[in-house]
């Protein structure tokens, strides 16, 4: 009898654990979509115009537009 109860307890614990593992994610998500700076394959000391231009262009990004958009999306639940 005791063995049966213990078995039931273990089974229900396992079931509960599996349920919490499979539980869907929260409604809001962390909007950390930070775009890494693209790798530039030019010499870091080059004074070649095209190299300098490439390196300068590599600093172009969206300024956080994607993060702000996600923030707006998260607020829709209110």
């Amino acid at each position: 009898m005791k063995l049966k109860t213990a078995g039931l307890l273990i089974a229900s614990s396992l079931l509960l654990g599996a349920c919490s593992y499979l539980k869907p994610a929260a409604t809001t998500t962390a909007p950390q979509t930070i775009t890494p700076t693209p790798a530039v394959s030019v010499s870091p000391t080059s004074t070649n115009l095209k190299d300098l231009d490439t390196e300068l262009n590599a600093t172009i990004d969206d300024g956080g537009a994607a993060d702000l958009k996600q923030l707006q999306k998260d607020a829709q639940g209110l």
Partner: protein, 188 residues
């Protein structure tokens, strides 16, 4: 005379009492606002809404920290590129080329970088508090904080764009001296 002394004493006392309140620093004021936010957040009964407000509040801080760090990193890179452009300019000048226009552009670019750095550093220390009044007004309170933050962050980013454009203008002037052509970018 006695009345005048009493009045003077009263004014001195009033000044003594109000001075600490007037001397509140910006950080203290921000901290007080944060404390008030915490208290008001606790009064929200809808747990789902409470979690959303809390998450948005935290994410505004995270995004601001990360984005301003990226902006500062980019400004350092832009400044370093400008340094190399200057090296090339000096070398051309010593070989007899006219680099007057390039030097003028370099000065403008340095100013733009300095202005951007100031703006981004100011943005990095800004705080945004969701002004919770009632549970029904949560949406508009969050929207107000989010909109203010988005506007400020975009303004800071725009200063970086301006600095980069200024450095690109230097490159264009240098390209004219050298006789090379640069490809157009999305920011041209």
């Amino acid at each position: 005379m006695k009345k005048l002394t009493s009045l003077f004493c009263f004014l001195a006392l009033a000044l003594l009492v109000t001075t600490p309140a007037l001397a509140l620093t910006a950080s203290e004021s921000a901290r007080m606002k944060r404390d008030e936010f915490r208290v008001r957040l606790a009064t929200i009964r809808d747990e789902k809404k409470k979690a959303i407000v809390e998450r948005i509040d935290q994410n505004i801080v995270k995004i601001n920290t990360n984005r301003t760090a990226i902006m500062l990193r980019h400004l350092t890179k832009i400044e370093e590129i400008l340094g190399r452009i200057e090296t090339r300019t000096n070398s051309l000048a010593s070989s007899g080329k006219d680099v007057t226009a390039v030097r003028t552009a370099i000065t403008k670019a340095r100013e733009a970088i300095a202005a951007a750095r100031t703006a981004v550093n100011a943005q990095a220390v800004k705080t945004y508090t969701i002004d919770i009044t009632t549970e029904t007004n949560l949406g508009s309170a969050v929207s107000a904080a989010r909109t203010a933050f988005a506007k400020d962050l975009s303004a800071a980013h725009q200063t970086v764009v301006t600095a980069r454009k200024a450095v690109r203008d230097v490159l264009k002037e240098l390209a004219k001296v050298v006789g090379e052509k640069l490809t157009t970018t999305s920011e041209d």
